[in-house]
């Protein structure tokens, strides 16, 4: 293959010229973010910053039991504590709290248990809210919690999915421990496996993760007696407003939801939480503003968890490694209840177990299982990292089985670039891609051949530190999502996105977006798109978001959807504005609209020197003295965009890991990622998303796991126990891109929020297994802690001895 290129220079290759617009255009430029000014100076608006006259503080008492009946509650000792305004238990809310919503019953017979925001008679996981104190400050609220008396009658915890499904298991809910079984198939799977020369059969465990956004959740609820305002650290102010209205009975038009500055989400703030509902109910009851701010140790217990699946994957292949079929049987831990999209998460992965590969048949079954643990729900990638992990791990196993290089096995099976658009065995049409190009680039940057040579040298020398190389050639479906597809998958809502663009009298532009950024830089990227489209300076664009009073319509931010759906809505709204402006311009310049052309912010009458800027048109429209007959004096427009298809970023990630066979310690030596996310609006932001995504994926591979003990207590309640990587634990990443535009949207963009996380986990584990394969190792369970690596080595050595 190719020699190693100079790494590090590549990452600096940020374009100074626009890729889509005219030279010098904004799109494609590495614009520094508008958001940064307030964030680097501390002039932020986190929800917990909010102070209001008479603000009361809420603290929740949480169940210490994984599964128990509540037999006695006495809140009275807490009521007399200093500063205490009120104390409530579940019984106090029983008549009005409703049930936390699940918007994704994946099958018609999905069991959706009642999910009271505050437990009334039974608790089903440690951390479930059982009572609350409302006091004049947070210290007093915390003190009074300790005075509440609650007696529990213990019930059996249900902790293991296989045991939960076994006959005679204790039940999480009276209906049993199975929520649903969802099936999907394409092609003839029996034929694929019949007399297949090679069959690989593996079981992988996707450990339970805690998303760990840096900002803990916080809620401020207030009412003027008629309407309600809820500030909350959420990714989904719009969805939340609808759901809260349905849950609490507060009419939707009397409820305003605001997501101020939000400190990260990664899916964990894509939720309708108990605390949001309860704070609304409390403010309604007391008539006072209330604030609740989560402690990290409270959040580890009660922010929904991610992953937690057991994946049984079988691959049938020809002798040369061509994949004939893939069969997947999945157990997905729902936790104790179904939350907003809990059952949908594994189903989002169902269409991705084929990866980038061609095959004749596919068969997928997923059973959702209740346990007495915190519910799971969306966490960065949501279903797709799990699927990608399984197929990318098993492709390595297939390569080992037939004795070819793991990259070669991928080349033999992947969709070639001239085969796009390609309809996969799952029925998805991948519109564009070039796996060869991204892979070649990655191999060159990585120095693949040189590392392989070092690997065999270390093997020969029996060096206690072995080297492994891991490959992940991933794709993902993102840009969630076409409404019709979501409907066919039984999701309760659509996947469109909305934008308003209004040109103000002075020619400045306000964009209202239905996306709800919490670190993604939409204020910057949307400004770039609008600047190019309307020909106005980047600085002249303001982006409003996250407040249902100003941004009335939206589907919010998750699933790598904001640019590929919300960004396109902005483009369409700009087009409508330009069309209106053209009418005015033609009228003012006494020309036919057909003769007026627009570029770089100026309307010109074709063939003449006459022109007017969009700013001049804006002022003229505002004055409205001289407009075309019947023309409404406004230069604004709305657009709601519903994509017809998902988008399919892809890429090749390569990871070299050194494994210390004496201690089991692993160290990432180098990491190369070449991603193809289509056209790029801001390469700086894209690179940042990739970096952060890779880090989170590596963290799953090496560090993170939510651990429950045999009584159902979470052991990883703090950051001292749930290990997040610091700068000292991660290497620098070499990143680059290929750009194969999406053909399904006018920007040619695909989405980048989840790509790094989806790709990196299997790359790391493949590298570790690759290092140890000569020892007889063919899997290490995640996270691949030094102890697990050591035990794996010991067990295979024991077998061979």
């Amino acid at each position: 293959m190719t020699e190693q290129l100079e790494a590090g220079t590549v990452t600096q290759q940020v374009k100074e010229n626009g890729a889509l617009g005219a030279p010098g255009g904004e799109v494609g430029k590495a614009r520094r973010r508008k958001e940064d000014a307030r964030l680097v100076t501390g002039r932020t608006q986190w929800t917990d910053n909010i102070q209001l006259p008479g603000l009361l503080h809420v603290a929740f008492l949480r169940s210490p039991m994984a599964h128990a009946r509540i037999t006695r509650v006495d809140t009275s000792p807490a009521r007399t504590r200093p500063g205490v305004v009120a104390v409530f238990s579940g019984q106090d809310f029983a008549g009005e709290q409703g049930s936390l919503p699940c918007a994704w019953p994946v099958t018609p017979d999905t069991v959706i248990p009642d999910h009271p925001p505050m437990a009334v008679s039974e608790v089903r996981y440690v951390g479930e809210a059982v009572a609350c104190v409302i006091a004049t400050d947070r210290y007093k609220a915390a003190d009074a919690l300790e005075a509440i008396e609650i007696d529990y009658e213990p019930l059996e915890p249900v902790l293991d999915m296989n045991e939960a499904l076994a006959e005679g298991s204790p039940k999480v809910h009276e209906t049993g421990n199975e929520s649903f079984t969802w099936k999907f198939a394409g092609g003839d799977i029996e034929a694929a496996f019949r007399e297949a020369p090679v069959v690989i059969d593996r079981t992988y465990v996707q450990q339970r993760l805690i998303p760990s956004a840096m900002e803990p959740r916080a809620v401020v609820a207030q009412t003027d007696g008629d309407s309600f305002t809820l500030h909350t650290s959420t990714q989904i102010p719009h969805v939340l407003r609808v759901m809260l209205a349905l849950t609490t009975g507060i009419p939707e038009h009397k409820l305003r939801v605001i997501a101020p500055d939000v400190g990260g989400g990664f899916g964990s703030k894509l939720q309708v939480t108990a605390e949001e509902v309860l704070c609304l109910l409390i403010t309604r009851r007391l008539g006072k503003p209330v604030k609740w701010t989560e402690a990290r140790s409270e959040g580890n217990l009660t922010v929904h968890h991610g992953r937690d699946q057991i994946q049984h994957i079988r691959v049938a292949a020809d002798a040369d490694g061509r994949v004939r079929g893939v069969q997947v049987k999945l157990l997905a831990d729902m936790g104790a209840y179904l939350m907003l999209v809990t059952p949908g998460v594994p189903i989002l992965g169902a269409f991705m177990y084929n990866g980038i590969y061609k095959m004749d048949a596919y068969d997928f079954t997923c059973t959702g299982v209740f346990t007495t643990k915190m519910p799971t729900d969306a966490y960065r990638g949501a279903g797709r990292p799990e699927a990608t992990f399984a197929i990318e791990r098993v492709m390595d196993e297939l390569a080992a089985e037939i004795g070819v290089d793991p990259m070669e096995i991928r080349r033999r099976n992947w969709i070639r670039h001239h085969e796009f658009p390609y309809t996969t065995i799952c029925g998805l049409t991948y519109d564009s891609g070039n796996y060869e190009a991204a892979t070649d680039r990655a191999l060159a940057l990585f120095g693949y051949d040189k590392l392989r040579a070092e690997q065999s040298d270390r093997r020969e020398r029996e060096d206690p530190v072995q080297l492994g190389i891991g490959i992940s050639t991933y794709t993902e479906m993102c840009g969630l999502a076409p409404s019709r597809v979501l409907g066919s998958l039984s999701y309760a809502a659509g996947g469109w996105e909305h934008a308003d663009v209004r040109v103000l009298p002075t020619g400045k532009v306000e964009v209202v977006t239905g996306t709800s950024p919490h670190g993604q830089g939409h204020e910057t990227a949307w400004s770039q798109i609008v600047a190019d489209s309307l020909g106005v300076p980047f600085e002249d664009v303001a982006v409003l978001h996250g407040d249902t009073a100003s941004s009335h319509k939206g589907m919010d931010t998750y699933g790598s959807r904001s640019l590929a759906v919300g960004g396109i809505a902005v483009v369409h709204a700009c087009d409508k504005v330009k069309e209106k402006a053209r009418q005015v311009a033609a009228h003012l310049m006494e020309a036919s609209p057909d003769d007026v052309e627009f570029s770089e912010g100026r309307f010109r009458v074709r063939g003449t020197g006459t022109s007017q800027t969009i700013q001049e048109i804006a002022l003229a429209t505002f004055a409205a003295h001289n407009l075309p007959d019947g023309f409404e004096p406004r230069l604004d427009a709305s657009a709601t965009f519903d994509p017809e298809s998902f988008s399919f970023p892809h890429g090749t990630h390569l990871c070299a890991v050194e494994v210390d066979t004496e201690t089991g310690a692993t160290a990432i030596r180098s990491y190369v990622a070449v991603d193809d996310v289509g056209n790029v609006v801001n390469p700086l932001i894209v690179e940042g998303q990739v970096h952060g995504g890779i880090a989170q994926g590596i963290a799953q591979a090496l560090f993170e796991e939510a651990v429950y003990d045999s009584d159902g207590n979470l052991l990883t309640t703090t950051m001292a126990d749930y290990l997040l990587p610091s700068a000292a634990d991660l290497p620098s990443f070499t990143t680059d891109r290929t750009e194969t535009p999406a053909t399904t949207n006018p920007l040619g963009v695909k989405g980048v929020g989840e790509a790094g996380t989806i790709a990196s986990t299997p790359a790391v584990v493949n590298a570790i297994v690759d290092a140890l394969r000569p020892h007889g190792v063919h899997d290490v369970r995640m996270p691949c802690t030094p102890e697990r690596v050591w035990r794996t080595l010991r067990s295979v050595e024991g077998e061979s001895a």
Binding site: L39, V40, G42, A213, E215, G521, H691, A695, A720, A727
Partner: protein, 158 residues
Amino acid sequence: MARISVEVDGIAYEDEVEPRLLLVHYLRDRLGKTGTPIGCDTTNCGACTVLLDGRSVKSCSVLAVQVDGCDITTIEGVSSDGVWHPVQKAFHEEHALQCGYCTPGMVLASIDLLKDDPDPSEEAVRQGLEGNLCRCTGYCNIVRAVRRAAQEMRVTTP
């Protein structure tokens, strides 16, 4: 209650505080210095890092009474006369923040780091920031930013 006097970002304060009041809550709830956020309970995340008499500390693990007579610098006091500190500027230039929640702590920890090591290697930056967690950036750009700031500070302060 205990009486404390403390200078925060150049302003002198005198207050009666409960002994158990954490410095970070004093800053946020009493002084309205909400630039300093809280990310954990166990001194792990470093989001609440401030400078106490010029050295980085985690303000969630210091009592307000313990800083009686001390000088505190928060993220809100890092700029001078509206001009950003080179570390703030470098974080912006290198895209070293996304959600920005860890940024105040990262900036102050970086300022502290550069006091000891005006020309840190990548490794030194990574080790020096081990007490500050970021969930968004994967740290690459943070490392770049700190080294960029170091360079600028070496140029401007001979």
